[in-house]
């Protein structure tokens, strides 16, 4: 699960409060103490630079080189890897699968979850509400490997739950090897992903809805506005900020999909479920084409960074 870590707060950061602190008035050794304060942030900075920023920079260099993990040789090849990517049908299929993943995920995990959260929060009994929120969240607490293996069993042609269910409903004709058929495999994985993630966004929407002042609903009810219209004219507009955030988090997650596909199909059959993450993995670690893998990583970087910048901009605009 991506926790969808977000940066809204980061740009509303007011350092004013933060910087009006206590070391100054102590006088004397004030300046030395100021520099010494850096020590508190030093471990974080060192780890980030070594394990996050430095590899990120190196990745750009790798993407214009031909490198081999075994010989360690690296030669500059210019834009070759990118040219190869542009002509690689599997790269485009992977990107297309990521796009499909995002569209479906936004529909279910953002809009579906929003409606579901509004329904849950409209229920009368608090006990019921908190149980529903919790139960729906449970799949998000499980690792994607467990979910993936579980669904691999569910989708199995023989002894799988899905085919069994279809047969008992008299729809045995639809039964098939869901993950083994190139036409259904991607859809099956995306469906599994919705199962895994919808409770997470429902929970977050529920929290946002709880923050809406109840007076608004009471006033609307007195005016004779029905429950469905209350959802559309109060709930949805007032959680708009959360909706925007969730769209971006969900999109960003959909372009980083890896675990789900890896444990179910590894990109097969016939590359039909390849996504950017798995194609990067396969290029880098199966075919040992590090330069090409790094070029795919650059594409992923550009997509996710663009989404993050959009999000920061939206958060900033709201602030102004």
């Amino acid at each position: 699960m991506s926790e969808g870590a977000l940066v809204t707060e980061a740009n509303r950061v007011e350092l004013t409060r933060a910087s009006s602190t206590l070391d100054e008035p102590k006088g004397g050794h004030g300046r030395g103490r100021k520099w010494r304060g850096l020590l508190w942030a030093l471990p974080a900075l060192v780890l980030l630079c070594l394990f996050v920023y430095w590899p990120l920079l190196l990745n750009f260099r790798y993407s214009v080189e031909q490198s081999n993990i075994f010989t360690g040789e690296q030669t500059f090849v210019g834009a070759d890897n990118y040219v190869k990517m542009a002509g690689d049908p599997i790269f485009w299929r992977a990107l297309g699968n990521n796009v499909l993943y995002s569209v479906v995920s936004v529909a279910f995990q953002v809009f579906g979850a929003l409606i579901l959260a509004a329904i849950i929060e409209g229920l009368r009994r608090e006990r019921l509400r908190s149980w529903l929120r919790a139960i729906y969240f449970v799949p998000s607490a499980m690792s994607l490997t467990v979910t993936g293996l579980l669904f691999a069993f569910i989708y199995q042609p023989k002894g799988g739950l899905l085919n069994g269910l279809l047969e008992s409903l008299g729809l045995g004709g639809l039964a098939q090897a869901w993950l083994g058929n190139p036409d259904t495999a991607m859809g099956a994985i995306i469906a599994m992903s919705q199962w895994q993630g919808f409770g997470y966004s429902t929970l977050l929407f529920a929290v946002a809805i709880q923050r809406i002042p109840s007076e608004l609903y009471e006033a609307a009810a007195i005016d004779g506005i029905g429950p469905i219209r209350r959802v559309f004219s109060i709930t949805i507009p007032l959680v708009r900020e959360m909706t925007t955030l969730m769209i971006i988090v969900t999109l960003s997650g959909a372009f980083q999909v890896f675990n789900e596909v890896m444990v179910t199909t590894s990109g097969g059959p016939d590359n039909s479920t390849q996504v950017l993450g798995t194609w990067l993995y396969r290029s880098g670690f199966v075919k040992n084409d590090f330069g090409y893998a790094a070029a795919i990583a650059v594409v992923m970087f550009v997509i996710t960074l663009t989404l993050a910048i959009v999000q920061v901009t939206i958060a900033n605009r709201k602030r102004l």
């Binding site: 942030a41 993990i69 009368r124 919790a134 799949p139 609903y217 969730m246 590090f290 996710t304």
Partner: protein, 297 residues
């Protein structure tokens, strides 16, 4: 403000519109039934597969294949023994080690950084803030290729440290962000009082600020546990040694190896899932606060 997440009762259907019962009442009942039907169907869709996983771990291979919906004839806990014997015990222990170490490091380092950014004056504090929080925007996948060579060069490839340090480094931005937004709201008088009492910055942190941040630190710890326990990408790429694999990768290996022992695979999956599900139910409040604050208030 710390407790904004605590669930408070909100609007509900109780404020009924003053309409006469009749045709409208009928549709209201239909609507209500549909809503409860939907909610119940979703509960079944979520709970049933998870229960099925647990039940299947107690069946025999032929029971799983022949009658997937049925109950086992006899409860057979032998699958758990076989799963533990064929690697799950090792994977579990590795997951505990990696998760434990990365939780301690991430929490400590992020709390220090948050302290530096909110409670004391340091040079370049704005730049440092952006550098740390900016890490939130970067996808781990993007760093994976160069990290292979770097970790090999640093001699930590295929060791616990590879995962511990990566899980720490990649989670510092989120954790610092979470703790910082809590710490910034603590009143400055607290530090002032500590200084007046003669406490050093070091003492102020450990004796005053850290204890005051307990609720958000619990949230941060829980979210880090969830992340580290379930992480797959780094664990797949940077660990090759069978004896160092963590659960997510180990289970995948087990399932590809144990093609004839499905119950053992289900047993391993159940063992991997239970701790996180239990953690969620036990610490729901902290979970929700962490997730909600992390996503922006």
């Amino acid at each position: 403000m710390a407790d904004t997440v605590a669930v408070r009762p909100v609007h509900r259907g109780s404020a009924r519109s003053p309409r006469p019962v009749g045709v409208l009442g009928f549709w209201r009942i239909v609507g209500r039934l549909m809503i409860f039907g939907l909610l119940a169907a979703l509960v079944i869709a979520v709970v049933y597969p998870i229960l099925w996983m647990g039940i299947s771990s107690l069946k025999t291979n032929s029971e799983i294949l022949g009658n997937p919906f049925g109950w086992p004839d006899a409860l057979d806990f032998g699958s758990y023994v076989r799963a533990l014997d064929s690697g799950v015990a090792t994977y579990f222990l590795n997951s505990v080690i990696v998760t434990g170490a990365s939780v301690i490091l991430t929490t400590l380092i992020s709390t220090w950084a948050a302290y530096a950014l909110t409670r004391i004056t340091i040079p370049f504090s704005k730049g440092i803030l952006y550098l740390i929080i900016g890490g939130l925007m970067l996808a781990p996948t993007v760093a994976v290729i160069p990290l292979v060579k770097l970790l090999q060069a640093w001699g930590i490839y295929d060791t616990y440290w590879a995962l511990i340090l990566l899980y720490t480094a990649f989670r510092i931005p989120f954790t610092t962000f979470l703790i910082r937004s809590y710490m910034i709201d603590l009143p400055l008088e607290v530090d002032e009082a500590a200084v007046l009492d003669g406490a050093s910055t070091w003492q102020t942190f450990w004796r005053v600020i850290l204890p005051m941040c307990t609720p958000i630190i619990i949230s941060a710890v829980i979210l880090q546990v969830l992340f580290a326990w379930n992480e797959y990408l780094f664990a797949l790429i940077f660990i090759g040694d069978e004896s160092l694999k963590t659960l997510p990768v180990g289970l995948a290996t087990l399932s590809s190896r144990a093609v004839t022992d499905f119950p053992a695979v289900f047993a391993g999956m159940t063992l991997a899932a239970i701790p996180m599900i239990a953690l969620f139910f036990l610490c729901q409040r902290y979970f929700i606060r962490g997730l909600a604050d992390g996503v922006g208030k």
